[in-house]
Amino acid sequence: MAIVRPRLNDYYNVPLRQENLDFPIPFLDEDIPLYVDPFLLWKSPSLQDNALHTIIVSSFNHLGKLFAKGEETEAIKTLILLTECDEVGLGNSGVRKGKKIGEKTAGEILSLFKNIPRISQDGFHHFEEIQLLIDNVSKDRISDIACSIIKSWLIDFTIQSCDKFGIPIQKTDISLYDFKKQQIVSESVTLPLNPDNKSPLLLTPKRWLRYVPWINYDDYFDSYYIKDVEDAFEQKRTRIAILEYNRHNYDLISRYIETKEHAAKSCTTDPLFSQIPVLSAKRKLKTILGIPTGKTDNADKKYEDNMVPVLASMLYPHLDFAQAQSRVESGSQIRDLIFYNNRDIDPLKDIYDLYDARQIVIELKNVKEVEREHINQLNRYLTEQFGKFGILFTRNPAPSHIYKNTIDLWAGQRRCILILDDSDLAMMADVYETKQRLPIEVINKKYIEFIRSCPS
């Protein structure tokens, strides 16, 4: 059975609730759009994180010293190898595979240790500064360099986490940065492997992750550079010119870094998923209830667009949102929401056990009345991809003959298709606001009602 947007634990059939874990569950065929921010290691109250930050910076500075000493080829070669860390799967690659930097960029980065006296003398305190000095160095590069240098620690963290949660690990060879030898070495370790290509996967602590590093070019440009410099020159400069200006005026960068260090309290971890606030959910519900049925004025699109964030938020953390996807069947466009079944509460366990539903599909139908064909469409889709359980979200209660159709489907094929409507959505929104019950319990309620209607 294919899984939409499979994660490591889905492949091994280990139920994990993302909210309870201290690492993001890696996807098998794409990156997680978050980055390790070395600044979070620097500001962390944990001495271990601080020590890892020191290792990152001192290792990076060591490469600079090598370069400055004349061992340019060796320094460039090592830096290039450090600029990609596919094993952690962070960034925005759709295939979990990134590209290393070229020799030219590596040379430019390491030249900073020759060309800027202050760096040549003291080295970097926050190596993220290279984003402000060299072109083609972005947030994913910073994250990858940091991860590559502390890969040895990440391996230990991954082994411990896999052991704790029962994720299978296997022997594999991996290259990592040896801090004592100050060079890249190959080691044989036991790690979880990507079942598709047998490449090792590494887990990263959630507490280090942000969408953008605390020190980054855009922030520098928006909140610091313009005020101090741009006005004085009375004309806009290009990014390349600004980077060059920074290299010749390193004091400005130093002051910017000091400012960021002083504001460190505001630097926080970014969550993997944020539920929409209650007020926003109420507004969206009002919008949804006001949307006419049918397709006039793109009503179906509006309905779907509003339902996605509402359901993803309301059902979190019991159902982690996987993906919204569109498909065309019999000439009509169908929009589904796919959720990972975390099996952390009884009804979800039952749904998994009885209907083999590793993922739960919710089909959205902005129609006045559900028809037999809609049920058949979802049923066919379930057969192809998802166990035997599906939810059809529509606008009005299903007519009795359609409800009977779903009961017959259960009686004949043990397939469960629940039909939820606007009143159920309103109830979910109500409990989402009052916190008296959980929105997922509304689905459980419908399921129990359905099962009680089925022949025993």
Binding site: V431, Q436, E441, I448
Partner: protein, 120 residues
């Protein structure tokens, strides 16, 4: 209930009745209090589902009432307790508690002497 070792049957029945009356009054008072609370909640948010914590105690009081009322006095033949999975709303619970209160009153009147307003 502490009785003398050689208490007569009449004494025993009398003591049991007193105990039952005490239990009934307790349940009746608790039911009234719950009804009052739920009526207020129901007016504020009619369709909001009641939480599991409250429902647990509502069901406990309903269960005790059912023991007194039996089939003869129970307000509805096919209702005994709330099912938490059905997510009853505040107004659902207030409605049922109101019905139970009426039936408990009826039970009390039917089991009270008309001259002294005391239990038979």
């Amino acid at each position: 209930m502490k009785l003398p070792r050689f208490a007569s049957l009449t004494q025993l029945i009398s003591e049991m009745k007193a105990q039952e009356k005490h239990e009934f009054d307790k349940v009746h008072d608790q039911m009234r209090s719950l009804y009052h609370e739920l009526s207020v909640l129901s007016k504020k948010s009619t369709n909001t589902a009641i939480n599991k914590f409250k429902l647990k105690f509502v069901n406990s009081i309903l269960g005790q009432s059912n023991q007194f009322l039996k089939e003869k006095y129970k307000p509805f033949k096919d209702f005994s307790l709330f099912d938490a999975d059905e997510m009853p709303s505040n107004s659902d619970v207030a409605l049922i508690l109101g019905q139970y209160l009426k039936c408990m009153e009826k039970f009390r009147i039917d089991n009270t002497k008309s001259d002294s307003l005391d239990w038979r």
